[in-house]
């Protein structure tokens, strides 16, 4: 493993996008940043800028309005990148399944690397999922 792919695992910068869920999962993502979980100890930073991000965390189901935004954010991220669907809604559409405006899970719009189900997802599960994805991120670069 080279210097760059070793660094990649140690410095995953996060972009968080809410497709329109109930905000339950978003609050859990933000809880990861608090002193209790402190994901910055793994080098994770919530960047808020697709051009600097390595990992796209998406909550909520994809619908006809937000799919362009989601696709746009995904395309602005420089490779290698990782997409993590957080919560049941982002994985499959959840309680919004079969609603007329809903496409389903975000994998209908962009390729997803890790699915983290839960309603709402616990911060431990989010951290676990991101760490799971990091192995893939390291492999992507080479």
């Amino acid at each position: 493993m080279g210097l760059i792919s070793a660094s990649r695992v140690k410095s995953p910068w996060i972009l968080h996008y809410d497709c329109g869920g109930c905000n339950g999962c978003d609050i859990e993502i933000l809880a990861c940043l608090t002193p209790l979980y402190d994901i910055e100890r793994f080098g994770m930073l919530n960047m808020g800028n697709p051009k600097h991000a390595d990992v796209l965390l998406v909550t909520g189901p994809a619908n006809y309005r937000n799919r362009r935004v989601l696709k746009n954010l995904y395309e602005q991220m420089p490779a290698p990148k990782l997409v993590i669907a957080i919560g049941t809604c982002a994985c499959t559409g959840g309680v919004f399944h079969n609603c007329p405006n809903i496409l389903g899970g975000i994998d209908k719009v962009i390729p997803v690397d890790v699915y983290i189900p839960g309603c709402a997802v616990r911060p431990e599960a989010i951290i676990d999922g991101v760490v799971l994805g990091l192995g893939k991120l390291a492999a992507l670069g080479k």
């Binding site: 410095s11 910055e40 808020g48 800028n49 600097h52 420089p78």
Partner: protein, 287 residues
């Protein structure tokens, strides 16, 4: 003396980035501890740098690439000039030119976040540049030359004669380090995202890595500038610079952000006036 005039700039060139990166890592660790967190490893800035270096290159336009390389090269040049003991005024203008290149790069893109970040960066330059330049003039009035090498051989530390200018430089240091009361242009704190990443928004991949490494060189430059206030013996100056660095981290963590108007008020009414008042006793036979 003769050995150091050759060795010091080479050491600054080679060690500037590692030392600056370590300082940044210590910054993140100490800030995390102040907030009751564990914090990232000390080497985290280097991981970030190598990761960014290995990312896909996406560029908005070619002008931006020229400006980001100019920013990097000019800041490194300013650091080398300072360690060569060259003219302080020239050194500060080279550094200022580098800062303007960063803004020009941000302006060369159509993104509104980048544009607003650029405007704010210009206001930051407008705030700290007069303090740094007037401090160089105050040093001139005290020792009669702009040469950094003369400050090192003048035999007396500057701090007892220029205490007010020193306080003003601390204000400039906060702006230059992009620390909390005044980090309005670049949102150096990842949690401050009202302009996404401000002036940095449109730089990605290895060009953002270049900006990171330039920040490290800049950090070493401003701390070396602070150290000039106690240049004989130099180790006291280095200790003073490190103490100021810790003070900045403390200020960063206890203060909320101010608007650009407050930044201008504090740096001009506070900083510039402090330097001007400090000049009066040393401007004797000058007017």
């Amino acid at each position: 003396m003769s050995v150091w005039t050759v060795l010091a700039p080479i050491l600054a060139l080679i060690l500037g980035a590692p030392v600056g990166g370590l300082l940044k890592g210590i910054d993140r660790k100490i800030s995390a501890r102040m907030q009751g967190r564990v914090g990232p490893p000390i080497l985290q800035p280097f991981y970030d740098f190598f990761k960014l270096w290995g990312k896909e290159t996406i560029v908005a336009n070619k002008a931006q690439l020229i400006f980001v390389w100019l920013y990097f090269l000019l800041v490194v040049a300013a650091l080398v000039l300072l360690f060569m003991g060259q003219d302080l005024l020239m050194t500060l203008f080279v550094l200022g030119f580098g800062g303007v290149c960063l803004v020009a790069g941000a302006f060369s893109v159509r993104s509104p976040y980048s544009q607003f970040g650029g405007y704010r960066e210009l206001l930051q330059i407008l705030s700290y540049e007069p303090i740094l330049l007037l401090t160089a003039v105050a040093i001139y009035l005290r020792i009669g030359t702009f040469q950094v090498s003369s400050i090192l051989t003048s035999g007396q530390p500057l701090l007892p004669y220029l205490p007010l200018a020193f306080i003003a430089v601390l204000i400039a240091l906060t702006i230059k380090m992009r620390k909390s009361p005044f980090d309005i242009a670049a949102s150096e704190h990842a949690a401050h995202q009202e302009l996404v990443r401000g002036v940095y928004t449109e730089y990605s991949g290895r060009y953002y890595a270049l900006i990171e490494i330039t920040y490290w060189y800049e950090l070493v430059f401003v701390l070396a500038f602070v150290a000039l206030f106690w240049a004989v013996p130099l180790w006291i100056g280095v200790l003073i610079a490190l103490a100021c660095y810790l003070l900045e981290l403390f200020v960063d963590n206890i203060s909320a952000r101010l608007t650009w108007r407050w930044m201008l008020r504090i740096s001009w009414i506070g900083g510039v006036v402090l330097v001007l008042v400090n000049m009066i006793p040393w401007a004797g036979g000058w007017w």
